[in-house]
Symmetry: D2
Subunit: 344 residues, 4 copies
């Protein structure tokens, strides 16, 4: 069996393992005050073109999401998210647990639009009884989105402008950012993201690290006492250097981009094969998640040899599925799958 189920089924990129091994018996400062964390943060600021940024290293995505939201909002404030947003679905109510409402918005392709934010915010703003509503104060987006789509530079600029206009924080969840940055045809760089968002994070867990997400805070209003909130959230790793070492390695010699591009290349091979097979898709994705719609028979046959995620079962005997590739995906196995597909 070979698994395309997740982009976090393996450990870490070998260079990361090597770095952890080499430094294993060094004594360092704790809780992220060590030199490796300092190095990693410096490299990330440079990559973002923002020396003024605050960078904080987290362990996982749920933790990063609720800590950032909890740090940014006052008790009566909420955060807009697509109904597909990870914070709205797969975090067991972590955002609500910190006291904040996720203000669910519809989406066809996993993305939110500037128009949609403006329209909804104005409903709030124009209500004479708005003090009885949750006050929208943040917009949460994922890039790539939960269905693999990407914002264009223009879309993100418009979203950013709408947020600024109404005093909303723009927060970009980049759990799979590496696969967004290296996607064919994207016109959005990490520097653009750092210019347009108030806060975002660079995913490590799904992009070559054992674990880790690097939060980049641009808006000065979100910076004070951030480590206190991290500590309170259980998000300060005792041996913080483990995060520093990983991100230092990922942001040295373009490793992050290089290995994510491999994941993208593998996904594009799959995408081409699905297209040649004439399979419809949930949403057209140029990132490492592909969502073709298979017949049940195809699904049954393929799942004998490959792990595939089931996304949605339809009444007409078809099923949307998810194939994930990553930095670790075997080209041989991708080719095997494509061959098997061709024979169907």
């Amino acid at each position: 069996m070979y698994y395309f189920t997740n982009d976090y089924s393996e450990g870490a990129h070998p260079l990361i393992m090597q770095k952890l091994l080499e430094t294993n018996m060094e004594q360092t400062d704790v809780y992220g005050s060590d030199q490796y964390c300092a190095n990693a943060k410096a490299l990330i600021k440079t990559a973002c073109g923002r020396e003024d940024a605050d960078v904080h290293l987290f362990i996982g995505g749920t933790q990063t999401n609720f800590t950032i939201i909890s740090a940014a909002l006052r008790p009566f404030q909420g955060v807009y998210s697509s109904f597909l947003g990870h914070i709205n679905t797969h975090e067991a109510g972590a955002i609500e647990h910190t006291g904040h409402k996720v203000l669910e918005l519809p989406t066809a392709d996993g993305k939110l639009t500037a128009h949609q934010i403006e329209e909804n915010y104005l409903i709030y703003l124009n209500d004479p009884k708005r003090e009885h509503w949750v006050q929208p104060k943040m917009v949460y987006i994922s890039h790539p989105s939960e269905v693999g789509t990407l914002y264009t530079k223009k879309e993100l600029e418009e979203l950013s402008a709408a947020c600024k206009k109404y005093g909303l924080y723009l927060f970009l969840d980049g759990a799979r950012l590496g696969y967004g940055l290296t996607s064919p045809g994207t016109d959005l760089t990490i520097k653009d993201i750092a210019r347009l968002c108030d806060v975002f994070y660079i995913g490590g867990t799904k992009c070559g690290a054992l674990f880790g997400e690097a939060a980049v805070i641009l808006n000065p209003a979100l910076k004070p006492d951030f480590i206190s909130i991290m500590k309170q959230s259980g998000a300060v790793l005792a041996k913080g250097r483990l995060l520093g070492l990983q991100f230092q390695t990922l942001f040295t010699d373009n490793l992050y981009e290089t290995i994510c591009r491999h994941g993208i290349n593998m996904a594009m091979l799959l995408k081409k094969a699905f297209e040649e097979k004439g399979l419809p898709v949930v949403a057209e994705s140029f990132t490492n998640q592909q969502f073709p719609i298979l017949t049940e028979k195809m699904y049954e046959t393929l799942t004998k040899k490959y792990g595939i995620g089931s996304w949605e079962v339809f009444d007409n005997g078809t099923r949307a599925v998810r194939f994930c590739t990553s930095w670790a995906t075997s080209e041989e196995q991708v080719n095997n799958l494509i061959n098997d597909l061709k024979k169907m």
Copy 2:
């Protein structure tokens, strides 16, 4: 100007004021341990046909809602509500502030159906990763609903059965319960509600009291330490007797029903007038809230003499509005309004 804007624009029914005045200088026990509270609770249990119920007297609706939900749910659990539900819209995120997600469901008429609950719960239950989702554990409904509609006995029985089947608590917000119980054609009694719900409350604020909501807990699982949660929620009135006195008065000699029926009679006069005028409605309501759709010209003319709530403005030059009647509504003013309407 005469206001049909709210059903809480006046003080309390004169008999309540008289009772408060008579007893004003009595010394009583505090925090709801007095004899008047005991009397009120006994009368309410009898009215509900449930001597085993626990009755708790609250000050207002938001407080009642979040205290009950907070007492019933564990941190990762959420509550289904129609997207129109008061807890989902007009409580500034009070439910989320206690840590719980409001699981928004669509509705055409303000009501939830058994089928809808079952369907949604099964999506949760059948997800192999359901531990990553908020666990649905409660169903919140309003009766009358936010748009004036009423559950039939059959509908509530089905909803109750679906809840029991999946271990969900059924919680009925009866902020306007008096106007539901006295509505023409309803087949649902307070005893039915007490039989079918795990917890519900009897609205006082909108039904003749200065303030107050009487929560009735039927499910033994929801009873332990409830007063501790009330205290923590700031919901224990120091001079608790004020609540006892009001509910004792309302549940003596059928006062609650008698005065709410007046509100209903006034609403039915309006309803008939709107129908005769051929006005469309947001939802057909047999309760004290009426939602006709007026032309902008009618709206402008009427609001010179009457306070009316603006509900939704449409592109075609019409506007949905809300007329509220209550125990306090003047029949003379209702007739004035109807006459003005006829002249249009």
Copy 3:
């Protein structure tokens, strides 16, 4: 039986009842947007000598405390309180429920000192790992304190200066403020309090109202969106006018002071009687709570005719008790008690 157990055993001052009755069938705006609330707020600002203040009318003390604290603090911040502080003992964890630690400090007489605050804050500030601690951000005091003592003007000035020095908010709980302002020998006026605190409240429940506490916010940092937090806390009364009417009445023609002074006069009669009897006290109080230490025999005899609060039972056969007087206390009953005491 006559009860000295609490200062909230009766209803409201007759002038308040009369005002409620007179206005009962008026239609007013809701949620505190009515003219009576506006009048009350204007009168309170004038009494405080601070036209720039924001005044908000609450229903009860616990609610006022947790709403103010929740509005002022970020998630990792806490509030200093004496271990006797109401927020630390009798609110069922309401402050922690909003997510904040009560930072308990020792006290001999119910008061906190500037020195104590400075000393404790410096321990926090000088800890290199202070990001792992709760950040102190507010000081909560009661005036009168829970054992009836009062801050002098000098003490409050020093406390205020210490708070300003370290960026701490000074919050004064004035649930019994009327009995503090009219106490013999106090040199602290309501204007001083408004000058020295960031936020405080004027107790109504224990000082002549049916219920109600008027929060006065002086520090501009605490003002934005305060009503949203009130709404979320269930602290916005639907018929807000009930609060407006009460505080308007209390702050017209010096009623608040006049009726509280009666409570103080009654307490001073008791105090003198206890002194003449040679009874020791828990803390010397010039306010409406008196804490003599009785022999068990005295306690047994007196509690046959009078309700008295038991404060602490000692091993040596004595017991500290609490006598509360109020605006409603009967001079006749005070004299009866004193006569009974003399006979012992």
Copy 4:
């Protein structure tokens, strides 16, 4: 410089690193559903002699503490802790952030006693107004305590009995458990702990792992839906196998005990040296934390070559300090330190 500052200054035991490396490119199930987690949990249950236990693998201590407490308590309930308890001091209010009060108790030696719990609980239980108090429902202890002391079997049995008597959960924080189990003279085994506690955890971070704490739930009341709360707390590691692999390694061939015993041996060498030097101590510790009191001159001299934690500065020119040893401590450096000490 050699650091005795913390027991988490290095990476992980080499056998753990080797295991992580060997399995790095394996594809496994995610979120802790893999075989390595299953193996680790089975080994831990066997070590505890409790096949009925639920074992959950966490990343760090703060996270473990607040998740367990949040899972166990209802909103109005609190947890007893010594004032030195980690949850009361160094977690930035994480417990309060989940809504619960830490009920601070005094301690001379870092431990709580059965008598102390009983005495305090009875004050709560006997208060007629106890519904206004936070309800104590859990006892949190650390073993070894924050000052290195250990419970005897008798002490823990008494504490456990007191907890059972009053329906309190006994929760033991074993962040440094390995150093407790291998301490000379302790009569408490991991099986005893599993017999006497409702829930406890086995520290990995300070005992040879890169990171990780293994929570062992014994009381069936604490088991339901625990993973949902972990997810909500951001405590479910995507690549859960990293935790499984580490604990599987630690609980194979007695590695956990073997390597912790080394830490203890190093600590005992230091202890002997301090005694021979006649240095007083904060608390007599037979675990890996030693708290001698040095003169300022000694402190200055030693800190030129060794990292030492400053614990408390006294007025008389002395200073309590903390020396931490661990599985990673160099015997050579310990001897260097001892020699330097002897020369003073």
